[in-house]
């Protein structure tokens, strides 16, 4: 397993743990899970989850970026991109 892949798994698991309390329908979380369509999470709640992620990784994820994100995988990718840029 490459270190990128390992890091990817860690970020995915972190996000999944933050989203799980909002996963009322008990959907199995994968990279392809759509936050709003599959999980029916309210758009403000998505922003709140992102705020927890920001504080976990000490990065800022602009609202403009979040509005373009649909799936958990896209969120993972955005975090990698921002971590790289802001470090």
């Amino acid at each position: 397993m490459s270190s990128i892949q390992e890091d990817d798994d860690l970020v995915f698991r972190k996000i999944a743990s933050l989203i799980e309390p909002l996963n009322e329908k008990g959907v199995k979380l994968t990279r392809d899970t759509d936050l709003i369509a599959d999980l029916e999470i309210d758009s403000v709640a998505v922003l709140d989850v992102v705020m927890d992620i920001e504080d976990s990784y000490d990065i800022s994820i602009p609202v403009n970026t979040i509005s373009e994100i649909k799936t958990i995988g896209e969120l993972v990718d955005a975090i990698h991109a921002i971590k790289k840029e802001q470090s």
């Binding site: 403000v44 800022s60 609202v63 802001q86």
Partner: protein, 400 residues
């Protein structure tokens, strides 16, 4: 068909709830107004406790007379924007009066408070080098102004200066202008921002502070200048925004500042340039209400007395209130269905309050938002407290 698909989930939810109670909380029709605190709804007189009529000035004699005079003298509408079609003397005078009242050098009047925030924020920040930081619970018009600017937007935790500090600290050197936006009193929960700490943090990082006192203008501070007056930091606010639609009982909004560059917005702010200026009657009403607010502190005293009475009564009834004493008294309910049912129960008991349910509410809470007015009589307050007493009995009977 796909154009309408996105509405379906919410539409279906609302429909089920609406049909369950036989009333639409988001479409209540006041068939006839009976004064600042009463209206006829479905043939029944209701106490209005879901307004923003904090000072109760919607039927102020002098404001009504001033509005009538303004229509006689200047007509019903301005038919255009100030940028394209010209400014009336009354627009300018109101800007001068507001600036003088607040102690700022510059003021711009907009057609609504929504447009004031939209116009200020969208014009002040621009991509790619400016960043807007906003409190997570900011009003839609602050979010929309930020979106319209096209600049990068970062949210900080509600009323949390440390969260703002961290986010400002993370910004790289490429960032030029930084604009931090927050409110004085928040409209849904009635909670107050730590404005001094937020301004200090903003200035420490070289950012400008924009404070929206929409709900706190006329309500807080020894002279009614808002939460920033109460906290002693009015002079440190870079951009002070407000509305005429609440304490001033009219329609319109404004931005005040000591930065002379505010005047540039007159030829760069689209929500100022491309919409009709406020009507003569609206301007005259706001001017008269401002004059009354300046000369008569008794309304603010009544408002606070009323707010304290209701807050104490609800606390005693055991309601889960969202904030300490303020003119907005929001009670948290268990969920959407319970809030809907409670709202309907209050309507049946002759009291109109605001229902707020997810999506879009902070922390996905369901609340009943009540706003107190200086014009509420003791009779009105009795009716409100009686209705909530019956509600709390009904809720505890259900829980048992």
């Amino acid at each position: 068909m796909s154009l309408f698909d996105k509405f379906q989930t919410t539409a279906t939810q609302y429909k089920a709830l609406r049909e369950g109670i036989g009333r639409d909380p988001f479409g209540v029709s006041m068939d006839e107004m009976k004064g600042p605190t009463r209206a006829m709804v479905n043939g029944k007189e209701i106490v209005l406790a879901g307004t923003n009529n904090y000072l109760g000035l919607t039927y102020d004699d002098r404001a009504i007379a001033a509005a009538k005079d303004a229509i006689d003298q200047s007509g019903t509408g301005t038919t255009g924007s100030r940028f394209a079609n010209g400014t009336y003397a009354a627009h300018r005078q109101l800007e001068i009066d507001l600036a003088a009242f607040l102690g700022f050098k510059h003021c711009m009047v907009f057609s609504t408070g929504y447009q004031a925030n939209l116009g200020a924020i969208s014009a002040l920040a621009a991509p790619p080098e400016d960043v807007i930081l906003l409190d997570a619970d900011c009003h839609a018009c602050i979010y929309d102004g930020a979106q319209l600017s096209g600049a990068e937007i970062i949210r900080f935790r509600h009323n949390d200066p440390e969260s703002l500090d961290k986010r400002l600290g993370r910004l790289g050197d490429k960032v030029k202008g930084k604009l931090v936006c927050f409110e004085g009193m928040y409209s849904m929960f009635g909670d107050i921002a730590p404005v001094k700490e937020l301004i200090d943090v903003a200035h420490k990082h070289g950012a400008y502070a924009l404070l929206d006192e929409a709900h706190s203008f006329g309500v807080f501070g020894d002279n009614g200048r808002g939460v920033c007056e109460a906290e002693g930091v009015l002079d440190d606010v870079d951009f002070y925004t407000g509305t005429f639609s609440k304490s001033l009982a009219s329609i319109g909004g404004f931005v005040a500042s000591n930065h002379p560059e505010l005047e540039y917005l007159r030829f760069s702010s689209r929500p100022y340039m491309f919409t009709a200026s406020p009507s003569p009657a609206n301007v005259a009403t706001a001017s008269a209400a401002l004059a009354r607010l300046k000369s008569d502190p008794s309304m603010r005293e009544n408002l606070w007395q009323n707010a304290k009475r209701v807050h104490a009564a609800f606390t005693q009834l055991g309601f889960d209130l969202c904030a300490p004493e303020s003119p907005v008294i929001a009670a948290r309910l268990e969920g959407r269905e319970q809030a809907f049912m409670a709202w309907n129960f209050l309507m049946e008991n002759g009291v109109y309050v605001n229902l707020a349910i997810p999506p879009g509410t902070p922390n996905a809470t369901s609340i009943l938002r009540l706003s107190v007015s200086a014009a509420h009589t003791n009779e009105d307050l009795d009716a409100i407290i009686n209705a909530y007493t019956a509600l709390s009995e009904m809720l505890s009977a259900q829980a048992a």
